[in-house]
Symmetry: C2
Subunit: 228 residues, 2 copies
């Protein structure tokens, strides 16, 4: 599917290093929109729509006090810029602990990849067992960008159990039970992203899924829990 990709007005102090484009289909009528496929979730499940946007586009976990970015959220594509460029925007990477810098840099991703991730996460969300019905125009859009949608097919990318849409709303100790997850935590793009149970995502940690499966196989072997 060809996308409109018209530049949209930026409301950020990072104007020269930021992007914002229309992701409606090329030749659409009406207004340009950055997240056209989120219209239904934004209206009926705003927490889910906000989570998809946030996880797709923002870094997490940095103890950073920036008015523009919030305490610990920075646009992932801003993190692609060099220290020298960032310092011009008031982000002094050299003032942060090396481990914080590493964590932030690890989350860097291009604007285009972030936009693909948001759409792919939406595609997954609508295929959860108890997901709301996907409006036809959104279904058609997402299927043409990715692949045919199969109701009830979305599983946790780590444990492969079905993932319930209702977990988006549940919270334990203030944390959602469902998290955006990556087959390779150091790559943020639409072929590498999915959802996972919180416990599964935590257990995977900063390992790739392959590394995680090998790691726990070794654990089970040493614990005498693998059938020979």
């Amino acid at each position: 599917m060809e996308l409109c990709k018209k530049d949209l007005p930026l409301r950020t102090k990072y104007k020269e290093i930021a992007e914002k484009k229309c992701y409606r289909e090329n030749g659409h009528d009406g207004n340009c929109k950055e997240f056209p496929y989120l219209a239904d979730l934004a209206k009926n499940h705003p927490r889910v729509a906000n989570k998809i946007k946030r996880d797709a586009t923002k870094t997490t976990g940095a103890a950073w006090k920036s008015e523009d970015a919030g305490p610990n959220r920075i646009d992932r594509w801003v993190m692609l810029q060099s220290d020298d460029v960032l310092v011009q925007y008031g982000l002094n990477m050299k003032a942060l602990k090396p481990t914080v810098v590493a964590k932030l840099r690890e989350k860097a991703a291009s604007y285009g990849d972030c936009m693909s991730v948001a759409a792919k996460l939406t595609w997954f969300a609508y295929q959860m067992p108890d997901a709301p019905l996907c409006p036809n125009d959104i279904k058609s859009y997402l299927e043409r960008r990715f692949a045919k949608m199969t109701p009830h097919s979305t599983t946790c990318i780590v444990c492969k159990e079905p993932l319930s849409f209702s977990l988006f709303e549940n919270a334990q100790r203030g944390k959602a039970e469902i998290e955006t997850a990556h087959s390779n935590p150091r790559e943020h793009n639409d072929v590498n992203v999915g959802f996972a149970h919180r416990a599964c995502n935590i257990a995977q940690g900063n390992k790739t899924l392959d590394e995680f499966y090998e790691w726990v196989t070794g654990i089970l072997s040493r614990a005498g829990r693998l059938k020979q």
Copy 2:
């Protein structure tokens, strides 16, 4: 081994609900001591000695602003008391979120169990591959309380790999690479406690080790990673 168990002076506002006893051998000469077996580590590896004391005796993770307990450390035995008793000491459990209360209550343990945990952790620490040499008097004391010590034998209770004493000193993102761990996270006693890699302890989460091994076996099975 029979222990002295003489009451020692308490320096806490929880006098009526606290204990402090001598854990030297019964009939010892010289002063009574609560942690006699930590003398060597306290002198030569104070971070390790402090960690053992702290993990054995304190709760963790509560966002509690109490001058006496510190921001998130409360004696585990204090958490055995009822809400009504605690409120007399200025600890109003009802003012905390239910999930925080649950977490605190889960960490409750008797003073005696905490003291046994501290000694058992010391016994494990001296058996790490690169542990400092255990002074003879301490070795004799710990062996009579638990079992014969085998140099280089301490492994992570989760992954069963040898655990290096040097991990106590390493830190990543401000967190020690080694953590006190429990076969059953809801039981704090000397048969249930040990050390684990940080990543292993995090992966285990609030599951028992048995539950954890079953859980990852299921994951590997569904991911097609188990040999048939």
